[in-house]
Amino acid sequence: MSFPRYVATAFWLLSSLGVALPLLVLAWRGLGNIRTLPGVLDLAGVSLLLALVGSLLCLVVGGGLAWLAFRARLHPGWDVLLLPAYLVPPFVGALGFLYALQLLGLRPYGVGGILLAWTAHYAPIAYLLLRPTLESKLAPLLVACEVHGVTGWRRIKALLPPLFPALAAAFGALYLSLLGNFGVPAVLGLPAQVYTLPTLAYTRLFSPASPDPLGEAAAIGLLLGLLATPALLLFSQPSGEPSPRSLRPRLVWAARIGLVLFALAAVVFPLTGLLQRALFNTFTGAFQPAFATAWELPLVRQGLTNSVLLALLATGLLLLMGLLLAPQPRAMRRLRQVLDLHYLLPGTLLALGLILLLAPTPLYATPWILLLAYLLNFAALMLRSIEAGLEAGIERLVGVGRLFGLRHERAWWKIGFPLLQPYLAAGVFLVLPLCLAELTLSAMLYAPGSETLGVAVLSALNGGLFREAAAIGLILMALSLLLLAVPRRGVV
């Protein structure tokens, strides 16, 4: 091994260690408090079961819709009916379901409400992951089945096994998202004392009754990490280029009705709940929008300012990092693989790790710890977006430029960066709204003065300001839906 390579390896080991440090510290502290775990094993079981059932529901609903859309040869334009549910932050969706179910006189809190809100938000992920696989893998096989008259059970035997890897990957992605989701169980579970591991870690951390809140939360975090890790092995982006196939459209109306029904149930229904709460007085029924009273709450103003500043700063810094790293694609890929840990594993783990790591420093209880958390959590997303561009041929085209005598910097300036623009834009429009409506990290890391918009909603809800929470939820929903106008490239 030559000296520079040795140095480079050492550098990568150290930086990987640095990025993974919060998780290592959490694991260490969690192991120290492992004796507290037997008391929460039943809750861990609930969390696990909820995540598994929820993932299955999302897979059935999202996969079913993907199958229908695939069979009906629906134009990708129809996807627009599914995207809003996915773009609206989960806790805002949960808030919508809370109010909408109350409108119908149904009990929104508890397992049923959580599963409903999860399915509405995460089924589109299953759809987005599976539809391209169906087009690339299944279309040719289905054509072969139709041509050779393979029907019924024999057709299922011919078509299902090739889909297993994609189904497993989608299930892994859903399970990780659901297991780590904080917002939905915080809105629909906590009031009914239905806990999942992220909400349990949150309540233990802020529990005045606990002798060692941080230690207990760390032990719960460790358990959460252990439950999440097996899914990391399943998780991989199923790939495949859709190839145009002359399949006859089937079940066209079923597919159209399915997508419309999903949009009605997952978006219009919670939206109605939010609108009703935000616009009409709960007791008198009079038209009385709550936006002005929400705006007068200092917490909301503070939250909005912090969220906007943090989102802009985090996105700007990640964009800069992406620009600096893109000309070193191999290094970028390696860094992204380490950062994937923070993106894929539940945000609760990162938040707890950062508290443990930075509590003794002046960074703790300032907005800067939130900025750091956002950077670590969302960096992989920005880098994935750039990687998608590089893998779509940009890296090679820069190489072609170098072959024609262009220096490394000039090749990137004239070829690489101009071609990366749409991918950078996609990265910005993915990260910015996620930062703006972030809740998992900020709920655990905020301090007086550094509250975010998500924290403001949660506090309003806990403080009985239901109408104000609905008003802010509507604003967040509107902001998220602006993303429908942005072209999506390479990243789900």
Binding site: L397, G399, V400, G401, R402, L403, F404, G405, R407, K414
Partner: protein
């Protein structure tokens, strides 16, 4: 111009092994071989996109083995064009010119037949036009050596033929040395001064296209051009027995494969009797499948199915070892 000495790059069983090759200034050399024979690896080693495990690459007097691609002053025409989607045709040329001059770029585009399309971007051009831009870009770079990797394989047959003849006359006019990778023997015959035949990562013969076609030195060199009959024979004292007659052959003694092209047998009243089993109408020629006793072979012949003919070799045929 280009000299490769003992050049090797291994990817396990595949790769390039102990390649020695020399290209004269202004010479166009075709590298001919089947898929997986190492042609593109060889080109990428010359381009600097791969680093060899051993051996040396010289461009002129200068050793460039470990130079990065941008210092080698080469140009590359790719099978898939590899055009920059955000640049117009003329901008492609301006970006790679040492001294960018718009007028010179326009002139070059006119020479490759892109008059009036200078400001179009790749997505506004047809396949043939894109390949012309790729070629103009390569010429605009004023390379020491031009590398072409199956540049016409994505084009339809008419356009392919038209473009390869245009390109070869352009290269000769410019005096550009070129290494042209292809698996198409017709292309190798049409464009090159010499052909290097590759098989399993090794160069098995380098000669003029006519010589490689008529006097292949190895079985794989013979196979590279197609139009080949291979019949198992036993050679004794330089002769093989065919339907009761002895044909003089060259090559090995003992068991081997008699190799001959479709046109290597001709009708003769004193020849070996053979029965015509079937006929095929090829491109401007009639081919007959005949039974020669020791096996069936395709022969260029005017005959009818079922007809008895008599055939003799036009020259001395060659026998190769069965392993090739």
């Amino acid at each position: 111009m280009l000299r490769l000495t003992n050049l090797s790059k291994s990817f396990g069983k595949a790769g390039v092994f102990e390649v020695n090759l020399q290209l004269e200034p202004g010479e166009v050399m075709a590298v001919l071989g089947a898929s997986g024979s190492g042609k593109t690896t060889l080109l990428n080693l010359v381009a600097g996109l791969l680093t060899p495990d051993s051996g040396h690459i010289f461009l002129g007097p200068e050793e460039v083995t470990y130079q990065p691609p941008e210092q080698r002053r080469l140009a590359y025409v790719f099978q898939d064009h590899a055009l920059w989607p955000h640049l117009s045709a003329v901008e492609h040329l301006l970006l790679v010119m040492k001294k960018p001059q718009r007028e010179a770029a326009y002139q070059l585009l006119r020479r490759v037949g892109l008059d009036g399309l200078e400001e179009r971007k790749p997505h506004q051009l047809s396949g043939g036009q894109k390949q012309r831009v790729a070629l103009a870009r390569a010429l605009a770079a004023r390379p020491r050596l031009l590398l072409l990797d199956e540049p016409y394989s994505a084009l339809d047959p008419v356009l392919r033929e038209e473009l390869r003849l245009e390109v070869v006359s352009l290269l000769r006019a410019e005096g550009v040395s070129a290494l042209h990778v292809t698996h198409d023997p017709d292309e190798a015959l049409a464009v090159s001064d010499r052909v290097a035949v590759m098989d399993m990562g090794r160069i098995v013969q380098v000669d003029t296209p006519t010589h490689v076609y008529t006097r292949p030195q190895t079985l794989s060199a013979a196979k590279a051009f197609g139009r080949l009959n291979l019949l198992p024979v036993q050679v004794e004292k330089g002769r093989v027995q065919v339907n009761g007659q002895a044909w003089e052959v060259e090559g090995i003694e003992g068991p081997g494969l008699l190799a001959f092209r479709y046109e290597d047998l001709r009708p003769d009243p004193h020849g070996v009797p053979a029965k015509v089993l079937a006929i095929y109408i090829g491109r401007g020629e009639r081919l007959c499948r005949v039974d020669l006793g020791l096996g069936e072979a395709l022969v260029r012949l005017e005959a009818k199915p079922g007809e008895q003919v008599r055939l003799v070799p036009s020259g001395r045929l060659r026998v190769f070892e069965r392993t090739g």
